[in-house]
C-alpha cells in the first residue's frame, strides 16, 4: 500500500448562485500522506473551507466534479450512507468556531458518545462512558467525570474546542481536517490547541489537513503547504522551501504582509479577493491584484509547473515578479 492517504484530483466544487453554477474550488489536485500535516493557507474567501467541506461531503447543495481518493477509494459519488460510515470514523473534522459547533442542549458526554453510537454499535453504555472520559483526559480537560454531564455553555471556548477535538479523534480517524481550529480562540489557548493537535496526530498517526490564514501557524505545524487563491492552488511545496524560496506572487505578497522586525509599514496586497460570482475564470486569477505586471508575463491558461521536485507553482508570472507597494491605498 502506498503512502498516499488522500488524493484529490481535479476537484471542482460549484455552488448555484442566481443564474448558474460558480466554482468555489476549481481544479484542485493535491495529496495528503499518512502521518503528515498539510497546511492550506489563503485569504478569507479563497475556498479553503469549501475544499475541506468537499472532502467531508458536507456541502448540501453543491455540484462536485473530479475525484477524491481516500485510501484508494473514490468518495465523490459514494452514497450518503457509505459516506456516513466514513465520517466521524475514518475521517473527522474540527471546526472554526467551538462556541457554535456544539449542540447547546446535549451534555458533553452525550455529544462525544454519539460518535460511538454511530460507529461502534457493539459498545455498551458503560464502555462508551469510560472511553469518553479517557478522551476528555487525553485532550486535557480537567475533572472529566464532571465535564461529562456538563452542557457546552458551561465551558470556555478553549475547553469547547478541546471537546470538539475529542469528538473528532474519538474513533482514531485516518484523516483529520482542522478548519481554522484556533481562529476563534485567544493567543495562549491557540498554542495549547495546536500542541494538542500535533501530539494527537503523532499518537494516532493520522494525516492532517490544517486550514488557516495564519502563516505563523503553518510555519510551526505543517510539513507541506498549499497556498490557495480564488479556489485554485497557486503554489505547493514543503514548508521550508515555501518560506525560504516562495515563488508565486501571491505567496510572496502574503509572506511580505506579515509583520516583521525593523519594518515600519505593512505590505498591503492591492485589491480584494473577488466574490465567487465575479472571479476571473480565464488567465491568471491573481493578475488584477498585481496590475503593474505586463499581460505577457502571465500564461493564457495557467497550469501548475513543477519547478523542483514537489514544488509546484501556477502561472509563469512569478519569473518577472517584483513586489510593489500599493499606491492607491496611500493618503
Amino acid at each position: 500500500m502506498s503512502n498516499k492517504l488522500l488524493e484529490i484530483k481535479n476537484l471542482k466544487t460549484s455552488f448555484y448562485i442566481n443564474d448558474g453554477y460558480y466554482a468555489a474550488v476549481d481544479d484542485v489536485t493535491l495529496t495528503v500522506n499518512k502521518n503528515e500535516i498539510l497546511g492550506i493557507v489563503g485569504e478569507s474567501g479563497s475556498g479553503k473551507s469549501a475544499l475541506a467541506f468537499s472532502v467531508m461531503g458536507l456541502h448540501t447543495r453543491a455540484k462536485m466534479e473530479g475525484n477524491i481518493f481516500f485510501n484508494g477509494k473514490d468518495i465523490v459519488n459514494v452514497s450518503k450512507s457509505e459516506l456516513n460510515k466514513m465520517r466521524g470514523n475514518e475521517m473527522a473534522m474540527i471546526f472554526q468556531d467551538p462556541l457554535t459547533a456544539l449542540n447547546p442542549l446535549m451534555e458533553i458526554g452525550a455529544q462525544i458518545s454519539e460518535t460511538f453510537i454511530l460507529h461502534r454499535p457493539t459498545m455498551t453504555r458503560r464502555e462508551r462512558k469510560d472511553r469518553v472520559i479517557e478522551l476528555l483526559k487525553m485532550v486535557g480537560i480537567p475533572r472529566p467525570e464532571y465535564v461529562f454531564s456538563q452542557f457546552p455553555h458551561e465551558l470556555s471556548g478553549g475547553m469547547r474546542q478541546r471537546v470538539m477535538i475529542a469528538i473528532a479523534i474519538a474513533n482514531q480517524p485516518k484523516l483529520l481536517i482542522a478548519d481554522e481550529p484556533t481562529t476563534a480562540l485567544d493567543v495562549t489557548i491557540q498554542a495549547q490547541i495546536l500542541d494538542l493537535i500535533r501530539e494527537l496526530k503523532a499518537t494516532i498517526e493520522s494525516g492532517v489537513i490544517l486550514i488557516t490564514h495564519d502563516l505563523g501557524v503553518v510555519a510551526e505545524m505543517a510539513d507541506r503547504v498549499a497556498v490557495v487563491y480564488a479556489g485554485q492552488i497557486v503554489e505547493i511545496a514543503n514548508v521550508y522551501t515555501l518560506f525560504k524560496k516562495p515563488l508565486h506572487p501571491y505567496t510572496r505578497s502574503l509572506l511580505h504582509s506579515v509583520p516583521a522586525d525593523g519594518q515600519d509599514k505593512l505590505h498591503v496586497i492591492h485589491g480584494i479577493v473577488p466574490s465567487l460570482k465575479h472571479l476571473p475564470r480565464e488567465g491568471c486569477r491573481f493578475a488584477h491584484r498585481i496590475p503593474w505586471m505586463d499581460a505577457s508575463d502571465h500564461e493564457e491558461n495557467p497550469i501548475l509547473h513543477e519547478v523542483e521536485p514537489g514544488h509546484y507553482v501556477r502561472c509563469t508570472c512569478y519569473k518577472n515578479f517584483s513586489l510593489q507597494e500599493d499606491e492607491s491605498k496611500e493618503a
Partner: protein, 320 residues
C-alpha cells in the same frame, strides 16, 4: 430546579392580586347592576334603593372588593343573581367541560402543528412546503367564528357525523362507557375547529425555527460525526426547534380561552365561555368576576407552565 419553580410561583401572586383588582374595577365600571331590568318598573324607586342598600350594592368599591376577595379566599365566589345558586356550583359543571375541550384542542393543535411544521421546515421551498405555508396563511385569514359555523354546517348539519350542540347526549348516565364516548364525540368537532385555525401560528413558528436551526454550525458537526439525515433531524434539529414552541405553550392557553368563548357559543357547548357571554349579557357580575378571574388565572398558570417546561428542556436557563 425547585428553587426556580418556587421563585417563579412567588411572582405569580402579585399578578393574581392585580388581576383581581382589575377585573373587579372593570365589572364595576359596567353600566347597570343586577337589579337593572330585573325588577318590575312599576315598583317605587325608593324600594329598589332600599333593596340595593340591603344587598350591599351602594357600598364604595373597595369595601365591595375586600368582601369579594375575602369570599374568594374561602372558596365563595358569591351568589348568582340570575340563577339564585352559588357561583361555585354554577361554574363547577361548566369548568370540567371547558377543561376537556381545552385539552382536546391542545392535543389536536400539536398533533397538526408538529408534523406539518417539521415537513415544512425540513423540505423548505418545495411544493410541499408551499402548500403547508399556504394553509397557514388561509388559517391566519379565516375568522374562527366563521370557520366554526362552516364546520358545524358541513359536519354537523349536512353529514351529521357529529352532534350540533351540548356536551353529552341527554339520556346517558355518568360512569358508563357510552357516556364517556358521547362526551368525546361532542368534543371533537369544536376542538378540531379551534385547532385547525389556531395551529397555524405554531406551524409557522416551528417551520421557521427548523429552517433556522438546520443552518447552525452544530448541525454540520452532527453530519461530520456521520449521523444520518433522519438522526440529524430527530436528535439535533427538532429538539432545538421545539424550545420556542414550549415557550409558546402559555400563550397558546390564552388564545385557547378566546377560542372557547366563540366556539362554545356557536356549538352551544355548556362551558365557561358560554357562561361568560351569558352572564355579561345578563349583568350577573358575580359570575362574570369569577369567570374572568379563572380565565386570568389560567393564563397566568399557562405562562408559569411555559417557564417551567422551558427550564426543564433548556439547560441554559436553569437557575442555580
Amino acid at each position: 430546579m425547585w428553587k426556580f419553580i418556587v421563585r417563579r410561583l412567588v411572582i405569580t401572586f402579585p399578578q393574581l392580586i392585580l388581576l383581581s383588582v382589575l377585573i373587579f374595577l372593570l365589572a364595576q365600571a359596567m353600566p347597570g347592576d343586577a337589579l337593572t331590568g330585573l325588577v318590575d318598573p312599576n315598583i317605587d324607586p325608593a324600594t329598589i334603593d332600599e333593596q340595593r342598600e340591603k344587598l350591599g350594592l351602594n357600598k364604595p368599591w373597595y369595601e365591595k372588593y375586600i368582601e369579594w376577595v375575602g369570599g374568594v379566599f374561602q372558596g365563595d365566589l358569591g351568589q348568582s343573581f340570575r340563577y339564585k345558586i352559588p357561583v361555585t356550583d354554577l361554574i363547577e359543571e361548566r369548568i370540567v367541560n371547558t377543561f376537556w375541550l381545552s385539552v382536546a384542542t391542545l392535543i389536536f393543535t400539536y398533533m397538526i402543528a408538529v408534523p406539518l411544521g417539521m415537513i415544512s421546515g425540513r423540505y423548505n421551498d418545495t411544493i410541499l412546503d408551499s402548500s403547508i405555508t399556504g394553509y397557514t396563511y388561509i388559517g391566519f385569514a379565516t375568522p374562527l367564528f366563521i370557520f366554526a359555523l362552516v364546520m358545524l354546517w358541513i359536519f354537523g348539519y349536512h353529514l351529521q357525523w357529529f352532534p350540533t350542540g351540548g356536551s353529552v347526549a341527554p339520556e346517558l348516565k355518568p360512569g358508563t362507557l357510552e357516556y364517556v364516548l358521547s362526551r368525546i364525540q361532542h368534543l371533537l368537532l369544536p376542538a378540531l375547529s379551534i385547532a385547525l385555525i389556531q395551529t397555524v401560528s405554531t406551524v409557522q413558528y416551528l417551520r421557521s425555527e427548523i429552517v433556522d436551526t438546520k443552518q447552525k454550525d452544530f448541525i454540520i458537526t452532527a453530519r461530520a460525526k456521520g449521523a444520518s439525515e433522519s438522526r440529524v433531524y430527530n436528535r439535533h434539529i427538532l429538539r432545538n426547534s421545539l424550545l420556542p414552541i414550549a415557550a409558546f405553550f402559555g400563550y397558546e392557553i390564552t388564545t385557547l380561552i378566546t377560542g372557547t368563548i366563540f366556539i362554545e357559543q356557536i356549538f352551544s357547548f355548556p362551558g365557561m365561555g358560554q357562561l361568560f357571554i351569558e352572564s355579561v349579557l345578563q349583568r350577573d357580575f358575580s359570575v362574570v368576576n369569577a369567570v374572568v378571574l379563572l380565565f386570568g388565572a389560567a393564563a397566568i398558570v399557562g405562562a408559569l407552565l411555559s417557564d417551567i417546561i422551558l427550564s426543564i428542556v433548556d439547560p441554559r436557563i436553569r437557575i442555580k
